[in-house]
C-alpha cells in the first residue's frame, strides 16, 4: 500500500495517476514482470510495455486499459448479449486529484463511450469551470453521452469514476444504486486511520489498478485477442475528440467529427481469461 497523508488510503490509488506533466507512478518493471508471467503461463508473443507521454504502449501500439477493466468488460457484454436493449444514453464521470491531466482523462472516457455505445463520436460540446469540464457528445448511432470530468480532488486521493448505460430495457452501472461513495472490497480502521483496498486480479496481485489493466491490455495485444490496428485507430479518435472537446469549450461551439471509413474500432475484444 502506498502511504497517504490523508485519512483514507487506497491501494488502487493510481487509477487516474498521470499528472499534467505526463509523470506516472506506475512501476514498469513490475508490470513487465507480470506480463512475462502471463505470457509464459498462457502463451503469447514477446513484447514489453513502455511509457510515452504518460501513456502505456507496446511498441507503437497504444494500450487501451480501460477496455480491459472487468467492470467495463461486463458492461460491454450487457450491451451485446441482450441484457440491455435499446441503448439511449451514457452517463460517465471521472474525478481525480488536482494536477491530473484532464485531456488524458477525457480521452479515456470518450474512448469508453464509443466502445460501450458501439459507435463513434460525431459531435462534442464541452463547458469547463475551474478544474472540471462537462462534456455532451453524440454518437453516430444517435446515443447521447455525458461525461463529467474533474481534477480537483485533494492530492493523494484515489479518484472515482462511474459508467452508466441507460437503455429502453435496463440500466447498468459500475457503481451501486443509492450511494455516491465508491464500494471497496476491504475497509480497515487501524491505528493510523482508515485504509481501503480493492484487489481485482489474483494473478497480478500486488500491482495497482492501473498497472493491472495495462498489463492485461498488453497481454491481450500480444495474444492477438486485441487488434493493434484497431487500438491505434481507436486511440487516435479518442485523443482527437478530447482535443476537440477542449476546443469546443474555448470556442463555445460544438465540434463535428467526420466519420472515418475503416474497420469498426468499437468491437468487443475476446476476454477468454476473464471470467
Amino acid at each position: 500500500m502506498i502511504p497517504q497523508p490523508l485519512a483514507v488510503n487506497r491501494t488502487d490509488c493510481d487509477r487516474l495517476r498521470n499528472d499534467s506533466t505526463g509523470k506516472t507512478n506506475m512501476n514498469l518493471k513490475k508490470m513487465n514482470k507480470g506480463l512475462d508471467f502471463l505470457r509464459e503461463k498462457y502463451g503469447a508473443k514477446n513484447g514489453e510495455i513502455v511509457l510515452k507521454d504518460g501513456h502505456c504502449f507496446v511498441g507503437a501500439v497504444p494500450l487501451l486499459p480501460g477496455r480491459m477493466e472487468r467492470k467495463i468488460v461486463e458492461l460491454k457484454k450487457m450491451t451485446e448479449n441482450g441484457t440491455l436493449e435499446g441503448v439511449s444514453t451514457l452517463r460517465f464521470a471521472a474525478f481525480a486529484p488536482k494536477g491530473t491531466d484532464v485531456e488524458a482523462m477525457l480521452a479515456k472516457e470518450l474512448d469508453l463511450a464509443a466502445y460501450l455505445g458501439a459507435s463513434d463520436i460525431v459531435r462534442v460540446m464541452a463547458v469547463a469551470g475551474g478544474a472540471a469540464i462537462n462534456v455532451l457528445a453524440k454518437l453516430a448511432n444517435d446515443v447521447n453521452v455525458s461525461v463529467e470530468i474533474g481534477a480537483g480532488l485533494p492530492k493523494g486521493e484515489t479518484g472515482y469514476d462511474r459508467h452508466e448505460i441507460i437503455a429502453k430495457r435496463g440500466v447498468a452501472c459500475d457503481q451501486t444504486v443509492d450511494t455516491h461513495t465508491k464500494h471497496e472490497s476491504i475497509r480497515c480502521w487501524g491505528e493510523k486511520g482508515v485504509a481501503e483496498y480493492t484487489d481485482v486480479d489474483t494473478e497480478l496481485f500486488g500491482l495497482t489498478y492501473d498497472e493491472i489493466w495495462n498489463v492485461r491490455a498488453a497481454f491481450a495485444l500480444l495474444q492477438g485477442r486485441a487488434d493493434a490496428k484497431i487500438w491505434k485507430a481507436a486511440w487516435d479518435k479518442a485523443t482527437k475528440v478530447a482535443a476537440l472537446a477542449l476546443a469546443a469549450n474555448r470556442d463555445r461551439a460544438a465540434k463535428t467529427i467526420a466519420l472515418k471509413k475503416g474497420p469498426d474500432t468499437n468491437q468487443a475484444i475476446k476476454v477468454a481469461e476473464v471470467r
Partner: protein
C-alpha cells in the same frame, strides 16, 4: 513442464461448470475426459460445448484414457468416497469438492487410502485464491488490526437445490438421513453443508482451533425443502476469538434447472462478508465486490453481475504444482478435518440445544 492429464468426474456439483474455462486455458493441464454421473448430468455438460469427451462409465473413461493423472471429483457429497477410492486405487491425484464426507470413519479412511497411494488430495476451498481474501490474510498477518478478538462472517447464497437436487437430499448431501432435532421435520444436509468457507477461514486468520460452537436453525424460507436453509452459529476459538457465522441460503432464487442469468431473486447471489475486530482496529470485507449492476434481461430486476471469479485459476495452479512438485496442498484432507468437525458440531448443537465442544 509436462501438462497434467486431467479428467472430471460426477459433473453434478454446483461448481462443476466453473472449472471448464480454467481447465481449457491453463497450459499446464491437458483436459482429456469427463465422466458424468447420469444422462441428465451429461446433457447439462454438453450445453457448455467444451469439446472434451464425456463418458457415463468411469471404467470406460479409464480404458480409453489410461494416462489420466488427476481427477476433479465434482459430484454429490455421498458419492465422493467411492469415487475417491476409485482414483486412489489407480494412483490418480484428486481434487475433491469442499465436503469430502461428513462420515468421520469414511473421512479417516480417505486419509489412509490417499496416504497409501501416495497421491495428492486437495480440497476445493477456492476462497483462498480470491484476491480479496489474499489481501485480508496479509492485513491480518501484518497486524493491521492487532490480535483478532471477534469475527463475524457470512457465507450466504441462493439455494442451488433446483439446479442440483442432491443438495436438498439428506442422504446425498449429508451422507445419512438424520433429523435436525427432535420434533423437527427437517434433516441435516442443507445450507450448512454448502458453506464450509467461513469455518475454514477463521482457522487461517486466527491460527487457532475451534473450542466450542452453538447453532440454531430458523424456519425455512422455502416450502417443501427437507433440509435446513436458515441457520446461524456462534462460538469461540481456543485463542479466545469469538465468532458469529451465517451460512444460510438466505437469498431466494428462481427455480431454474441450469444456472444462468436471472437465477437470483435477491440482487446478489452469493456473499462472503467478514467483519473482524482486533485489539488495534476493525476491518470489514466483501470478498465478492465491487461489481457491476443492472436491471435488464431476463427479469428486469436489480442484479449484481459479478466481475471477479479468479478463484479457480489459483486453485488449479496449486493443484498442478502439488502434483508435479509433490507438495502438500494448503487445504488437504488432514487440515480440513477440523473444519468438517466444526460443521458437524453445528448439527450436534442444533440437536441438543447445547454447545458442542470441538476437537
Amino acid at each position: 513442464m509436462k501438462p497434467v492429464k486431467i479428467a472430471m468426474m460426477g459433473m453434478t456439483h454446483g461448481h462443476t461448470r466453473k472449472y471448464y474455462q480454467t481447465l481449457i486455458d491453463n497450459k499446464k493441464l491437458d483436459w482429456v475426459a469427463s465422466c458424468a454421473q447420469d444422462e441428465d448430468a451429461k446433457k447439462v455438460y454438453e450445453l457448455y460445448d467444451t469439446g472434451v469427451p464425456c463418458y457415463l462409465d468411469p471404467d470406460e473413461m479409464y480404458r480409453k484414457h489410461p494416462d489420466i493423472e488427476a481427477v476433479v471429483v465434482a459430484s454429490d457429497n455421498a458419492s465422493h468416497f467411492g469415487q475417491m477410492k476409485w482414483c486412489a486405487e489407480k494412483g490418480i491425484n484428486i481434487l475433491s469438492m469442499k465436503i469430502p464426507t461428513f462420515d468421520m470413519e469414511e473421512y479417516n479412511e480417505m486419509i489412509a487410502m490417499c496416504d497409501k497411494a501416495g497421491i495428492v488430495c486437495q480440497i476445493e476451498l477456492e476462497m483462498h485464491y480470491n484476491s480479496v481474501v489474499r489481501r485480508l490474510k496479509k492485513l491480518i498477518a501484518d497486524g493491521a488490526i492487532g490480535k483478532i478478538k471477534a469475527v463475524q462472517a457470512t457465507n450466504i447464497t441462493l439455494s442451488p437445490v433446483w439446479a442440483f437436487p442432491w443438495q436438498g437430499d439428506p442422504k446425498a448431501s449429508f451422507g445419512s438421513v438424520e433429523r435436525l432435532k427432535k420434533g423437527d421435520p427437517r434433516f441435516r444436509g442443507g445450507a450448512l453443508c454448502d458453506h464450509p468457507h467461513v469455518f475454514d477461514l477463521i482457522r487461517h486468520l486466527t491460527g487457532s482451533d475451534f473450542d466450542y460452537i452453538y447453532a440454531e436453525v430458523a424456519p425455512n424460507l422455502r416450502d417443501g425443502l427437507e433440509v435446513e436453509d436458515m441457520l446461524m452459529a456462534v462460538g469461540k476459538m481456543k485463542d479466545g476469538t469469538a465468532f458469529l457465522f451465517d451460512p444460510s441460503w438466505s437469498r431466494l432464487e428462481e427455480k431454474i434447472k441450469v444456472p444462468g442469468p436471472g437465477w437470483e431473486r435477491f440482487p446478489k447471489r452469493m456473499e462472503v462478508n467478514l467483519t473482524i475486530t482486533g485489539d488495534k482496529g476493525m476491518l470489514s470485507c466483501d470478498c465478492f465486490g465491487p461489481n457491476v449492476y443492472h436491471n435488464g434481461a431476463p427479469n428486469d430486476r436489480y442484479t449484481v453481475q459479478y466481475t471477479y471469479f479468479d478463484e479457480w485459476v489459483g486453485l488449479i495452479d496449486e493443484f498442478v504444482d502439488c502434483i508435479r512438485n509433490r507438495r502438500t496442498p494448503l487445504i488437504n484432507l488432514k487440515w480440513h478435518k477440523e473444519t468438517i468437525q466444526a460443521m458437524l458440531g453445528c448439527y450436534e448443537s442444533i440437536a441438543t440445544g447445547k454447545i458442542a465442544k470441538i476437537g
